[in-house]
């Protein structure tokens, strides 16, 4: 007999109990209803008709593009007329140059300028492309090799702007999952690099190793509790060799000790200490007698001691090669103009051949420090060996008032033939705003008589201003 499905099913139905049939029948009806009923949706927002949408769009008024400001537009009336090395000529008046950060006058050195001119003769001005796309000129490679050899590092990488060197370096290494321990007094480029990287950040009090130790211990306790997450959280210590805002020197030996104790990577920004600290100007590591290879990455801005523009970073090949693909200011920016590289290379050679420049700078800094440290009413936050002096008021009141007072002092000092400036701060961008300061930058072209004159003028003006107050 052939298998007849209908008879089979009819047989099953006859044999099944009634409640079974009713239940199954209801289920089948429910399935059909679900399949063919209209689908429902959760209403997230009240639906707006087209007319209402148009009304909303017409109603919305944006704020003006920039907030209205009653201050007059910021015009800089200090126009420089000539090369500024020992003296600077502002608006036609020649003054002693204690305003630019060109520590050895390399921006005006005859052989540097000759090298720059012959580089323009050979290469033109611009590099016309990023490093990856035929913007690499042989002079860039030579500079990188020379810097690496000079500092005893494996590799160096050249950036086209000083500000973006340290920003891009930090942004390249620190990622969202990592934690950065940074000094409070670090400059804006470092802080913005950390902000852009979206990593966790802990600021320790300026040059306070105990505070840093506490923070690192806290993090180490966290690591012991969360070992899985700790494995992927990299730690970084960021500091400056010579601080831009304070002029003091970082405690390098303690930082290196912390690095090995807590397993963190050390990034130091030596913009102001390259060509300044140490016997031959090789920076903080030479100054403290430490080993350069203990610092993972060192970034230097060439705007200062080398008198050019741009920046470089050096370290082990393991660390620096990553920046060639991940450093935003390197990959996505045009290369440094060849003539600036050539003149920086020449400046490096001159500093190397002539360590007397470094010792003269140190002598000048020490001499001025000895004259100024005992002035009443102001405090010097910088180290005795630092060529960057920051004069701040001993008894600060409000930021605006102190700034105005120091600015009047700066104007008077300028009127007496010594060029000094107020340190620029963009108040709304600074996370931790330092107190307003008058900045005096010593360079190695100044003679001892010049320094005596400077200290005389500064003491006079400071005494006048504070007595008048």
């Amino acid at each position: 007999m052939a298998f007849n499905p209908f008879i089979y099913v009819a047989g099953l139905v006859m044999e099944a109990p009634l409640y079974h049939l009713v239940l199954e029948g209801l289920l089948v009806i429910w399935i059909f209803q679900l399949l063919f009923s209209k689908s429902y949706y959760i209403r997230k927002r009240p639906g707006l008709s087209a007319k209402e949408e148009e009304e909303l769009i017409a109603e919305w008024t944006p704020e003006p593009l920039v907030p209205p400001c009653d201050d007059p537009p910021p015009e800089n009336n200090n126009i420089v007329d000539k090369i500024a090395t020992r003296t600077i000529s502002i608006n036609g008046e020649e003054r002693l140059n204690l305003a630019t950060t060109s520590f050895h006058g390399m921006n005006g050195d005859k052989s540097c300028i000759e090298t720059a001119l012959s580089a323009i003769d050979k290469y033109g001005v611009g590099a016309c492309g990023p490093r990856a796309f035929y913007g690499t000129i042989d002079i860039h490679l030579e500079f990188e090799k020379r810097i690496a050899a000079h500092m005893g590092a494996e590799i160096a990488i050249l950036y086209s702007y000083g500000f973006s060197t340290v920003s891009s370096s930090i942004n390249c290494y620190c990622k969202r999952m990592d934690i950065v321990f940074c000094d409070e007094g670090a400059n804006l480029a470092i802080k913005k690099g950390i902000e852009a990287s979206r990593s966790k950040v802990r600021y320790f009090k300026h040059n306070d190793t105990d505070d840093l130790n506490t923070l690192l211990e806290e993090h180490a306790r966290w690591e012991r509790k969360n070992s899985r997450q700790a494995k992927v959280t990299k730690k970084f210590l960021v500091a400056e060799g010579l601080y831009n805002y304070y002029g003091d020197i970082c405690p390098l030996k303690e930082l290196i000790a912390f690095k090995y104790k807590y397993g963190a990577r050390l990034i130091i920004d030596e913009s102001y200490s390259f060509g300044v600290l140490g016997e031959t100007g090789r920076g903080v590591a030479e100054y403290f007698g430490a080993d350069n290879s203990d610092i993972d990455v060192v970034t230097v801005s060439m705007d200062h001691a080398l008198g050019s523009n741009g920046g470089f970073a050096y370290g082990t090949a393991y660390m620096i090669e990553i920046q060639r693909l991940g450093g935003l200011g390197y990959c996505f920016s045009a290369a440094l103009p060849p003539y600036l590289t050539a003149s920086a290379l020449k400046a490096l050679e001159l500093i190397d051949e002539n360590p007397k420049l470094i010792s003269r700078l140190k002598e000048n800094s020490n001499y001025l420090y000895d004259q100024l440290w005992s002035l009443d009413g102001i405090k010097l936050s910088n180290h005795r060996d630092s060529p960057v002096f920051h004069l701040r008021l001993m008894a600060p009141t409000t930021w605006g008032q102190d700034f105005a007072l120091l600015q009047r002092a700066a104007e008077r000092i300028n009127a007496r033939g010594v060029a000094v400036t107020m340190t620029t701060y963009v108040r709304s961008e600074e996370l931790i705003l330092p107190e307003p300061s008058l900045r005096i930058v010593v360079n190695s072209c100044l003679t001892r008589e010049d320094i005596t004159r400077v200290s005389g003028v500064v003491s006079e003006v400071v005494t006048e201003m504070l007595d008048a107050k």
Binding site: M106, N107, N309
Partner: protein
């Protein structure tokens, strides 16, 4: 064709004749897109898959010690202190095994000016898995189709180079100070006034680096509670700037005004994501010409939408300033729009001016605000040599230099003619070319990463320097060659390049449109040549 020939006549019309400028909008300029069929996309992905597999196999061999390569290792002290490795698994793997093949096509060193003819230093590496090179000492003379030299100002002789040299002699090399302290020279102010005049804006400010012009100033204009609508292919500097501002970012499909309007409507109607408060302001950032696609952004559509939706426009003219428009004033002039409608015009000097740096031009209020708030208040001023190069080249473009009154127009005209000729020839031969019909950035799609690498090497052997782009700069299936045309390219150079490209094509076969080539441009360059200014 007749009209085009009369345009190349060096005798320009005098200024008393009326200026007849045909707007690009009236001509309905095409914007070509990269298109590849599914078969090619599948084969490209298979290509990558095989490379990944080979990479993993090589890692395995390296573990066993059979393979030597120049991987870099951390210092012993760091490893002993248990410091975590610096790169994560995939990035390191990518660099080691995939990018390493094409490593010799990147960062080729020059030893001459980056003009139309360059000298590349030949270099060799030990195996194709090494990334360190030894220079052999041989110089390869090549034609330069890679540098950003649109108007041909990358010259080591001529008025700009002489002026830069005298500026270096007069003011020194670096300024050593910021613009707000003692780093300003009269040249900076003159340059800013000239740029503002050139673009038709009230005021301008210059910076020492183009990257930081975006990254350091977007946070100055935008803050919490603002919305940034940014094209999906915007430059890395814009993305970095938006991260620093604390601002919400909404991307829209590349150059797609319909998608842009849809997302804009949603943003205005719905307001801020959690609080539903209305946005404080909405700013749209678009680029004039996109560097990897060659597409030109639709300025008239943006301005029309702006009337209705009241957003602000930030136009990044890194590639288009000097290269587009009848007098080189960028995409705004190209489309025939009003420069006052664009709120902030930003650009860089490293492309058409042969220098370095960036600018922002806008109203006096905006520029004063930027001067106060910019991050570059901590960075040193633009060097005098570079500033003078920009100043002299800008004067030549504007026709203000008495010794070379027609040189600027000649360059702009030459660039437009080169663009038209080169693109037409490529379309004819069936290559997949993208971008606007008048853009001097010409990407040619090859799809396969292997093909672009071989093309780059073959062209170098035959004396042509080209740029290639593969993952991660472009999507995974769209590896391409990108030509950057220049006013200093002659017709012979273009012909030679096309001939060699045909030879590469005969080996690699990437003229995917040969059956159905792109039709030639149905319009001449969108301007008649006049002497303005």
């Amino acid at each position: 064709m007749e009209k085009v020939r009369s345009n190349s006549n060096p005798n320009v019309k005098k200024s008393n004749e009326p200026i007849k400028i045909v707007k690009a909008e009236e001509l309905k300029i095409r914007q070509l897109k990269m298109r590849s069929n599914y078969y090619t996309m599948f084969m490209t992905l298979l290509n990558f898959f095989l490379v990944f597999a080979a990479g993993h196999f090589r890692d395995f061999l390296r573990l066993l010690g059979y393979l030597k390569c120049d991987t870099k290792f951390d210092s012993k002290k760091n490893i002993a202190a248990k410091i975590q490795p610096i790169v994560d698994g995939f990035t390191a793997f990518y660099i080691r095994h995939i990018a390493i093949y094409a490593h010799d096509t990147m960062c080729r060193p020059l030893c001459s000016t980056p003009s139309a003819e360059i000298e590349i230093c030949e270099r060799k590496r030990q195996t194709q898995f090494h990334s360190t090179y030894k220079q052999t000492g041989r110089i390869l003379k090549s034609l330069n189709f890679a540098s950003y030299n649109y108007l041909g100002f990358a010259q080591n002789r001529g008025p700009c180079a002489e002026a830069s040299k005298s500026a270096v002699e007069k003011y020194g090399i670096g300024m050593g100070s910021t613009r707000s302290e003692v780093g300003s020279i009269q040249l900076h102010t003159d340059l800013e006034n000239l740029i503002a005049e050139f673009l038709g804006k009230e005021d301008a400010i210059t910076f020492g680096m183009g990257f930081i012009t975006n990254a350091g100033n977007i946070p100055a204009i935008l803050g919490k509670g603002c919305l940034l609508m940014s094209d999906e292919l915007n430059h890395a500097s814009i993305i970095l700037g938006s991260k620093l501002g604390g601002v919400k970012v909404q991307t829209f499909n590349h150059n797609d005004m319909v998608d842009f309007e849809k997302k804009l409507r949603k943003a205005v109607i719905e307001g801020q994501p959690k609080t539903r408060r209305p946005w404080k302001k909405i700013i749209v950032i678009v680029e004039g010409i996109y560097s990897m696609e060659g597409t030109i952004s639709y300025i008239p559509s943006l301005i029309a939408l702006k009337q209705k939706y009241k957003f602000y426009i930030w136009l990044d003219e890194a590639h288009s300033i000097g290269a587009m428009g009848p007098t080189g004033r960028g995409v705004v002039e190209y489309w025939g729009s009003d420069a006052n409608e664009i709120d902030i015009m930003m650009g860089t000097f490293s492309k058409s001016f042969g220098a370095h740096g960036g600018y922002i031009a806008s109203t006096k209020a905006v520029v004063s605000h930027i001067r106060r708030q910019t991050h570059t208040n901590y960075a040193s001023a633009m060097t005098p040599g570079v500033a003078m190069q920009i100043y002299s080249s800008l004067r030549i473009i504007m026709g203000r230099d008495d010794r070379y009154p027609n040189d600027g127009q000649r360059r702009i005209r030459q660039l437009a003619e080169n663009t038209r000729y080169f693109r037409t020839e490529l379309y004819k031969r069936g290559y997949v070319v993208a971008g606007g019909d008048h853009s001097p950035v010409v990407p040619v799609l090859l799809n396969y990463p292997g093909k672009v690498t071989i093309a780059s090497r073959y062209m170098l052997l035959n004396g042509i320097a080209i740029t290639i782009a593969a993952l991660p700069a472009v999507p995974i299936t769209e590896s391409r060659i990108r030509f950057c045309l220049s006013a200093s390219h002659t017709r012979e150079m273009l012909d030679y390049c096309i001939e060699k490209l045909d030879e590469v094509n005969s080996i690699l076969s990437f003229n995917y449109f040969s059956k159905n080539p792109i039709p030639p441009m149905p319009y001449p360059p969108p301007f008649e040549i006049v002497q303005k200014c």
